[in-house]
């Protein structure tokens, strides 16, 4: 009787925790959508920001976010996968490797603003890229690399050793084994990790303030020169203004970010399903 009671209590506690989470999410979404949807039309997506709320839009920020996420994807994908392959396939289980792995895990927990400071020193000042899209993209690449590497290592380790032996038994060299057997089998996990990490990069604000994202950009950001802005910075700008109408604009921009995130998550699901269609283990 007591056992059944404690079981029921635990079940109830779990249900309450999930319920609280869902409730918060629904409230948040309802708040954002009810405020933002009235402001959301094609003009909002195609115009630049303005002091007049009626003609204000997010076009430069949208393009900035787009450019940065593409660059981040291009840079983080090969670097992250290469690092993961090295750590998972080429180094043994030495002490050094395990220290490296632990540190990479820790890096993914470092506050993003720290990466902003690093990016400011490394890319803006030392490398001399200035306050540009490329500085921002490099900074965000550093930020998501640990996540990409860890997701890729997990995906690579999930490939059964029987697959490696199967490839070796056919006369594959180590590189052929990795390239032809391990990576295709790990691809669903790797791609999911990268897409989700890109979604995280799109939502980042703090590090970009440090590497010079402007709050008021009416031109289309160029990758290697001039100023830029991104959606979260635009939201931050509008949300901190006193006028209530700007808060509506901020909410509308948040809706756009949410849609982008959902699109990326959906893409991750599709890619995963597509890449794993032959995999059954």
């Amino acid at each position: 009787m007591r056992r059944r009671l404690s079981g029921t209590l635990f079940y109830g506690a779990c249900l309450a925790a999930i319920g609280l989470l869902l409730l918060t999410l629904i409230l948040l979404l309802w708040d954002v959508f009810s405020q933002g949807l009235p402001w959301l039309d094609t003009g909002f997506l195609t115009r630049g920001p303005s002091r007049k709320v009626e003609i204000a839009g997010i076009f430069p920020a949208l393009i900035g976010s787009f450019e940065i996420s593409i660059l981040v994807g291009i840079m983080a994908f090969p670097t992250g996968v290469a690092a993961a392959v090295y750590l998972a396939e080429y180094t043994g289980s030495s002490r050094l490797t395990s220290i490296l792995r632990t540190n990479i895990s820790n890096l993914s927990g470092v506050p993003s603003v720290i990466y902003g400071i690093l990016g400011l020193a490394l890319f803006v000042r030392i490398a001399g890229f200035g306050f540009t899209v490329i500085s921002a993209a490099l900074t965000l690449t550093l930020l998501i690399l640990p996540v990409v590497i860890i997701a890729s290592i997990e995906a690579i380790k999930a490939v059964p050793d029987a697959q490696r032996e199967g490839a070796y038994a056919l006369g594959a060299s180590r590189w052929q084994m990795v390239r032809q057997a391990v990576l295709p089998a790990a691809a669903p996990g790797i791609m999911t990790g990268i897409i989700l990490a890109m979604a995280r990069a799109i939502g980042e604000t703090a590090p970009l303030i440090l590497v010079g994202a402007f709050t008021f950009v009416t031109f289309i950001p160029q990758p290697f020169s001039g100023g830029y802005t991104v959606l979260p910075i635009q939201v931050y700008d509008w949300a901190t203004r006193p006028q209530a109408d700007f808060h509506g604009l901020a909410a509308a921009a948040i809706v756009v970010i949410l849609v982008l995130m959902l699109a990326l998550n959906a893409l991750a699901l599709v890619v995963r399903a597509r890449l794993s269609r032959h995999i059954q283990w």
Binding site: Q163, A169, L170, G171, Q280
Partner: protein, 298 residues
Amino acid sequence: MVEENSLNTQLSEAPVHESSTRGAGPSIRISAASERGATQPAAETGTVVELKDVSCFYGSFRAVRNVDIKVARQRITALIGPSGCGKSTLLRTMNRMNDLVPSYRAEGTVLLDGQDLFARGVDPVAIRRRVGMVFQKPNPFPKTVWENVAFGPKINGYKGDLDELVERSLRRAALWDDVKDKLQQSGMALSGGQQQRLCIARTIAVDPEVILMDEPCSALDPRSTLQIEELMAELKKDYTIVIVTHNMQQAARASDTTIFMTMGEDRAGYVVEEGETVEIFTNPRNQLTEDYVSGRFG
């Protein structure tokens, strides 16, 4: 159904050494492979793989000691013996697959067509192209049936018609009729027995000299097991096969030569007796062999 029934009868038959006297019939047929494949005596066909005083170590533990055996061309050689006696280790030494195991080390000489596999400068990758391997659990790649078979030829730079090679390999593995309409489906979607034949097809697509089989039927049902054994009898016309098996009936049915291993007090495996399968199962010279093949231990 008929086939399945007769197979069940075979498997449930009395101990091996008794059934040998009955000759043909539904009971276990000793050295059936020799009858089917018209094998010539080892002396005339030559030795493909020769192990001279081979010992294998995992760290400081000696897993196999002082093995001297010869594997004859175009014959099926079975390695039998109790669990842990080093059969698989010895098998995996013959294509340097065990190099991948950290702490593994081999001493002695392993000759493939007279070439020392462990000599300085020998590339294990090149060895594995000549000595293929089929594993205990079918391990097709998560790719299409076609890509599974084309994998080896592709990485080895095959220049000819891949479609033709894939079909030929699948036919040789007695799998073509099962999969000819499923070439673009996942190799992992096949049944266990089909997967194992796919792995055999994949191996012969590289055209190795020797095919090592590490308990290839232990994960399969009796019917699939029989199909693999029939396939082996067919394949030995062109290939030399070494099979590790826990199944003594299988060794008796399918092999020409049998090598019996066991382990000593030091837990190191060694070869007790090597000979024609018929001899090993009907007239073993060593008491240990007799005890093992008659089911008294192991």
